[in-house]
Amino acid sequence: MTPAATSLLCVAALLATALVAVPFGRRARATPAIYGASLAATVVALAGALLHLVAGGTSEVVLPLGLPWLGAHFRLDALAAFFLVVVNFGGAAASLYGLGYGRHEEAPHRVLPFFPAFLGAMNLVVLADDAFSFLLCWEFMSLASWALVIAHHRATDNTRAGYIYLVMASFGTLALLLAFGLLAGPQGGYGFAAMRAAEHPPLVAALVLGLLILGAGSKAGLVPLHVWLPLAHPAAPSHVSALMSGVMTKVAIYGFVRVVFDLLSEPSWWSSMVVLALGGATAVLGILHALMERDLKRLLAYSTIENIGVVFVGLGLALAFRAEGMGWAAALALTAALFHVLNHSLFKSLLFFGAGAVLGATATRDMDRLGGLIHRMPRTSFAFLVGCAAISALPPLNGFASEWLAFQAILQSPQLSAWGLKIMVPAVGGLLALSAALAAACFVKAFGVTFLGRPRSDAAAAAHEVDRFSQAAMFILAGLCLAAGILPGFVIDAVAPVTQALVGDRMPRQTGVEWLSIVPIAEGRSSYNGLLVFLFITISASLAVVVIHRFASRALRRGPAWGCGFVEPSPMTQYSGVSFAQPIRRVFGTLAFRAREHVEMPPPGDMRPARLTVQMHDLVWDALYAPIAGAIGFAADRLNTLQFLTIRRYLSLVFLALVGLLLVLAIWP
């Protein structure tokens, strides 16, 4: 059986599972059965994709479905195999987590049918090899995830999140539809093979790129199309949030890469500047929003936006280098982007699982009502800590490896010939560095406020460790974060066939390098050895522990927390998430959020406490979405009167329309 057929069989198994879940979803035994079946199918698909990625080559399947003259084409090449690995690994981890987490679900029949369908749809999008199948599967994916977003539709704001998600998803699909229409040209070659062979004039290429930024960018969460993401991702059950943030955004990136690097003729160099600018802005704005957030899952969703920005910066660099004919640098940038795609899917899934565990144990996502969980959920907090370190790009974990590669690519910018790029790329590098630093601050806040200190509510004080399935899923992901961090060479070599196919070049082979270092360009210029860093950290930390415990004291002591001289025992006097973010809000908030602080000081003698209120605005929402929503509401109100006309007026409208069309026909040259 060909690898593509294997993948399609796994998809068929997932869809069949979804169908079975419809009638049996309410039964108690359905939850482990459905998640178990999803786990099995995704593991098989993962193995198939991994083998295919290593073995290389392409395999195709044409099914007699869809448009009669087109059929449904599916194709598995290196790029698709890489993304199938990401999708199915995330899917398998979420299924494993769901085995435990799903048991507490109060309405499993709203989640169970859509979960495997969502997984199957994401697989299909990656496999699709013609525009019709691609769009169909893309829309199926959107709708399945929408159903999961509004699974708990009675919770506050979830229906609003679902509504905004639905609007943005249909807008994105519309943009993609137009893009594929332009790619297919007047002959209507809707197969990807025909699009690949066609030559696209520069104007069409620029238009397609713009539409792709709108279509795939809105699904991935590119600023300013990100507004739905922090609403919709947290609204879903946590393992689905992990899938949406960790995997579905990657499928969107797949769509962008597939079209822009594979199907489209080379767009001109200035179009890469648009991608770079959007990527840089997305990274910084995403992480600033995340820093301001109190809600743990929303914080993670905003941080997803930041990481999407990092990936898009990598893709923009690859576009720029490819347009300049620097294949090796383009391969480096594209490798960095794809490596970050993999990494983000690992640590963002891990973090959402951790957030789900916290939510399950305490029933709240508000960080300022949590705290002290490290004593009650030690394993979860350890896994979450690994995820936080990885996403903050701390060596020796995987986040560092991919961001380091991205900076290596940025450092090649002086060799570019276009002056616009020469100036822009270092500026974007500055934005990237800023966002990396802010991300570290953000996850210090996320971990510190949630897991350290004293519990800020009774629920946090009564928390308990989660079940073994959830722990297993988190620890497998944490282990892989470490493995990808200390052995990045294997990942880079696995991505090489993809870059070879897309930009015509690859990074130097890494597996032959001594001591498992990675060398992006040449030995003399830069190299990084994650294993060495890991060994150094481990050995020096162990030594420090040994020294402290041997020469200082063995005993574990619990003493009163230092309270800055105050005696107030309330846990609310601790450092909170909002207070942690205050310095950064002071620096960036006035510009980025029009933040205004207002102190209400009672007059002397009044016993009321003083109050500090902070007002923040989402500028993108205020400047872009609110006017559009207002205009649509206004037009709808005006058109509403059309519903109550007399029969004669309706006839007049028909008559005027007819006469108008005839007039057009008469005047038309």
Binding site: R648, L651, V659, L663, A666
Partner: protein
């Protein structure tokens, strides 16, 4: 001989447009019915002439249907309805006569421009026929739009349908089946609308469709 054929066909089709204008101008119901009968009669003549010219005997049936149903049965029936409802004195236009006539002339000019431009290589007879037919259709629509009274709207609708038949018979090879179905649809429409009129009468004591609007609460 060819010239004469063309001239006579032209005469009848043009006559139909002229009678459409008379329909448009007329604001008394009995007179309107009489003119509609004349309209159908001219249509029957035109169709019969086409039957003779095209040597298509089935078109005689169409002509007979036009003459029988539209020129005699329907006007007589509507006459009775008006008598029974006692509304024959009502005058009911929305726009004044002058502007309506001007608009009608504009519409005829429009249909000429459109039709003559898009069919330069067609048979000249069919071309002229189509242009006149489109004018009749547009004038019928205009009549429906500018009248408030249900009876005159029905007549506008039927004159519109006459225009369609003129177009259909102008083109060679229109099968009879379609024609009969069209005729029956008009008959059915007439029956339905007739019943509708009685219903309105019973319910609201008037056939002015403004009363319907009042009932739906759209005015005032």
């Amino acid at each position: 001989m060819d010239g004469l054929i063309f001239d006579i066909a032209h005469l009848f089709a043009g006559g139909l447009v002229l009678v459409s204008f008379m329909l448009l101008y007329q604001d008394r119901l009995y007179a309107l019915l009489n003119i509609f009968a004349l309209h159908a009669f001219v249509l029957a003549l035109s169709v019969a002439w086409q039957a003779l010219v095209q040597a298509a005997p089935h078109l005689y049936v169409t002509a007979a249907i036009a003459l029988g149903f539209k020129a005699i049965v329907i006007p007589v029936a509507l006459h009775r309805i008006i008598q029974r409802l006692g509304i024959h004195r009502q005058v009911e236009t929305v726009v004044g006569m002058g502007p309506t006539m001007l608009a009608g002339m504009g519409l005829v000019a429009l249909s000429m421009v459109v039709m003559l431009r898009v069919t330069p290589e067609a048979d000249p007879l069919a071309r002229e026929d189509l242009a006149f037919a489109l004018s009749v259709v547009l004038l019928g629509l205009l009549m429906m739009v500018t009248r408030r009274n249900a009876v005159s709207q029905v007549i506008g609708f039927m004159s519109l349908e006459n225009g369609l038949i003129l177009a259909a018979t102008g083109a060679k090879g229109m099968p009879l089946v379609v024609e009969i179905s069209v005729a029956f649809s008009v008959l059915i429409a007439f029956i339905v609308i007739g019943i509708f009129l009685f219903r309105i009468r019973e319910r609201f004591d008037t056939v002015d469709i403004g009363a319907l609007d009042d009932f739906r609460g759209e005015r005032k």
